[in-house]
Symmetry: D2
Subunit: 309 residues, 4 copies
């Protein structure tokens, strides 16, 4: 046990850039502020490493909170090679891409009144139910374009949807040829719409077909890195994908609001992932505990500023 | 705004039963102790209601923590009609059913050393890697029994596994004809094994086929109730299943360690679910914040004691 | 790194006692359920050790939540030698001892309406403002009994109040000659009342005078143990009190809802306390993360059951 | 219930200033990112209001984490009129002012080894024990300067210490004539040193004397505002100080890592404070949940940038 660098007191300068602030947090180096600064260092190294396959995990209701454009911009900039998302984020991405909007609301309200006014609540975000009518029409039309005798991987279904949209995460991924995986797609409005379609039409989507392409990518990767926003299925699906290869992730950053002592994977430290071989013994890895609506924009702004220098 | 009953100070009697303690918490009525007591009242009403379809959601690493038998005992007792689980819990259930064990460990340890000794860590639980060799053999043998030209729903794949085991959650569910849904099964060691099998054999598992039976059950249900341990895919997959019906859940209890202000569904209050119509306007619903390794056993012990009276 | 005992799956028996349940949690041994079981083992050893001075730290709004009687009953049973509390808990203890009540309320309500109806809210507990009128009268009368030229330690002020009450924590402590320390007493309604009294009368209370008796007790203690409910001033004031002696605490249990990664002492692990020498190198120590309105009653019920056997 | 503005997707621009980022968060408006943006709006209004007495509450181990200079710079800039702190933050402030340093460490380490090497740990910050020898010498020398027959308010004791230092929070406060209150000063190394001094010397510090000046300031204040970092004694001591006046706080921002459902004041929402009259019915108030080592620098950088425009 040895002391590292001295803690430098954070100095605020009016007008300082986000990265200047993160550099200050780096010199202070403590708690989650320090962890966020280490995350920026790791994410910068990961993005600058041309031989690293870059994974991005997207869990938590991030798109309704306005965090979706950060993801699509990272795709456009070439900073995401493989995206794994919850179905809910993709549902809300489609809704926004179709021109429907989420709205500022309040968490202190009557949910019964909201029900009567046909407004759905996501903490302090409101989403009028109309959006799901537009959404239903889009999905039903899209599914009708599928070949009824073919079996699709989930990723291909999502790619079809993305090609029919002109903005947002799915659209940008489709435009850039970036695969989007969503193993729990059935657990979302997309899943309910597929069920609805299957009442009259025919659709065949395989639960495991995506894994071949994903694991091939993992086997081919010289190195792999991951930025996981939230935990859930995306975090584990990404981390486990390297388990079958001789390697693990070399770079790993997680932004999560959960906590480790409850035992769940969403809050588990990335050190734990070392014991499984999901990340390498020497992996540069850090977990930042906090709300990703704060930590994600700060992290990305800091690292993009460094990349632009 | 009116004051309810006075807060009664909790009285501890040496030797008191778990339900006696929960009754004391009910009279105190505050914070998560009060919420846990309300959860017991709701869960009791749900279990006593013969016309309610009883869902159980299982997320978080509950089986490695010794919470699996509570689930299988609830199935045996007829208290679960439909189980929705993460893939990880089913993986660890199979591991235990095959005679492998999880072990008391520590969260303060070197994960690199653990890696060298081939021990996987889940917070303070250790799982020697050997277990996965036994697991692999079992799954590969099981998959070989599938009809290579048939397409299976995920639930049927899990049912097959359950029928080949003699204890645990999957086995008990199979013995009792209780469906087990796991929409994100690809996100688990079961998923990786299916991929492995598909490298040489043929397996076809549909991502959406389960939804027909599930939604049929929802349409037929006079009333529905849910006990959700953790959030994740199981919580939402259960709650969304009633969205397509004219009804919502009448009883809803969630035990979670997450928090609402981060916006994610795992920590969202059940009130929020009211705005969506996932639960009815009049639903009896409560969220208990805390570690389910404490709240689940206390809740179930209290309610089973009441049912036995 | 070695595996410990196998994780035993928790078995629920209807009618089981609280300690039977905790023994089950002990055999499972994981996450906070396991920590709670270890806390019971440590607290039992501490209570059974005749040569240990037993500290109890009381933070968080525990009395309004009905947890006060657990504390006064522990005092009556001889299980607390030194109590350190926040001022708020003592304020609410006095309010209840004076016959005023806290009431079941709701956290989802209009605080402006509550304000109009003169009801104060503590999460989901309501306290009508009337209580503070009764409280004010009691405190002002009590302070008038003080010798205006004497300087009192805070503990003696509290002892005076306790002697004028016939139930509750302060009363029971006074009856049993147990010192109650409250270093931040100014930060409470008691403090505001003292200020009010000093507008016309004279009162002299020393901020440090209590420390002599406390540290003398620490120097004399062969061993020391602590059960800290919450963190805050009580946790640190207790732990630091052994810093001046050659020893540290031998037994230490903390029940807290905070978390370590934020750096604050309230959520800090007790391991951290080992580096400071607040607890001994070999101390039996555990932190249980969760709401003390659940963990405290379960812990105390289990240990009292063992003591009664 | 009505929908507010649409959620705007956050756009990151490399090199953007901290306030530009916070403005983006304001347009997204969701979860704690949205709360942080609202906090910036409220804090800006508070700092720009010349008739508002500006309180600052400092809890949590902020100085060891490098957050102390933000506080002293706010004092220098005239943005703090009254500071309320925990004793620990002042202890660490003195240590840094005396030239001793805190160091980058790790939370994954052997606390027993640290003990052997005489290094104290605060989560992932290390503080060699030497610092306390320097600290002891300084405090003992300082106390010897006190008039042994006078009775001091705690604030005056702290002011004396501040005048003997040339940098840091206490020094800057003393230089600017800003009162520093620390009602729980006994609960800190300063308290232990006072006890040590009283073993041979004489010192008389009153627990309540500060309240007169504080409440006079509250009665004179046309309006009052507060930025509370963490909860603990500082939050409540500040909020309760307006209870005796006909007014409450008009502006209130809290940055906390605690949570409301546990009932403790540290995690309580500021809405709850409305029911008590601690803040006014119309008060602009917001709680940002998260680690203050992230939220405090972002908040202050954003608001100072606005003030500089």
């Amino acid at each position: 046990m040895e002391c590292g660098e001295p803690v430098e007191q954070v100095a605020i300068r009016p007008g300082m850039s986000v990265n200047e602030l993160v550099v200050q947090l780096s010199r202070a180096g403590a708690y989650n502020g320090g962890a966020l600064a280490r995350a920026a260092d790791i994410y910068e190294r990961m993005l600058r490493d041309p031989e690293t396959v870059k994974f991005f995990g997207l869990a938590g209701a991030m798109v309704p909170a306005g965090m979706g454009k950060i993801v699509s911009d990272l795709i456009s900039a070439g900073h995401i090679d493989i995206l794994v998302s919850t179905g809910a984020n993709l549902t809300h991405d489609i809704i926004e891409a179709l021109g429907c909007r989420h709205y500022h609301g309040s968490s202190a309200c009557s949910d019964i009144e909201l029900r009567h006014e046909e407004i759905n609540r996501i903490y302090d975000v409101f989403l009028p139910n109309d959006a799901f009518i537009t959404f239903e029409q889009f999905i039903q039309e899209s599914l009708a374009l599928l070949d009824p005798v073919a079996t699709y991987p989930i990723g291909e279904l999502l790619s079809l949807l993305g090609r029919r949209l002109d903005r947002g995460i799915l659209a940008t991924a489709a435009q850039n040829g970036i695969p989007v995986y969503c193993p729990a797609v059935a657990d979302s409005m997309i899943g309910l719409q597929c069920w609805l379609y299957s009442q009259s039409g025919k659709i065949s989507v395989d639960a495991f077909l995506d894994m071949k392409a994903l694991l091939d990518a993992c086997f081919c990767a010289k190195r792999a890195g991951v930025l996981a926003v939230g935990g859930g299925v995306p975090k584990n699906f990404i981390l486990q994908s390297m388990l079958m290869t001789p390697n693990g992730f070399t770079y790993a950053v997680q932004l999560t609001g959960d906590r480790p002592d409850l035992g769940g994977l969403s809050g588990a430290t990335l050190d734990e992932a070392r014991s499984w071989g999901k990340i390498t013994e020497e992996a540069a890895a850090v977990t930042v505990y906090g709300d990703a609506t704060i930590t994600l924009p700060v992290l990305v702004a800091a690292v993009l500023e460094r990349m632009a220098q």
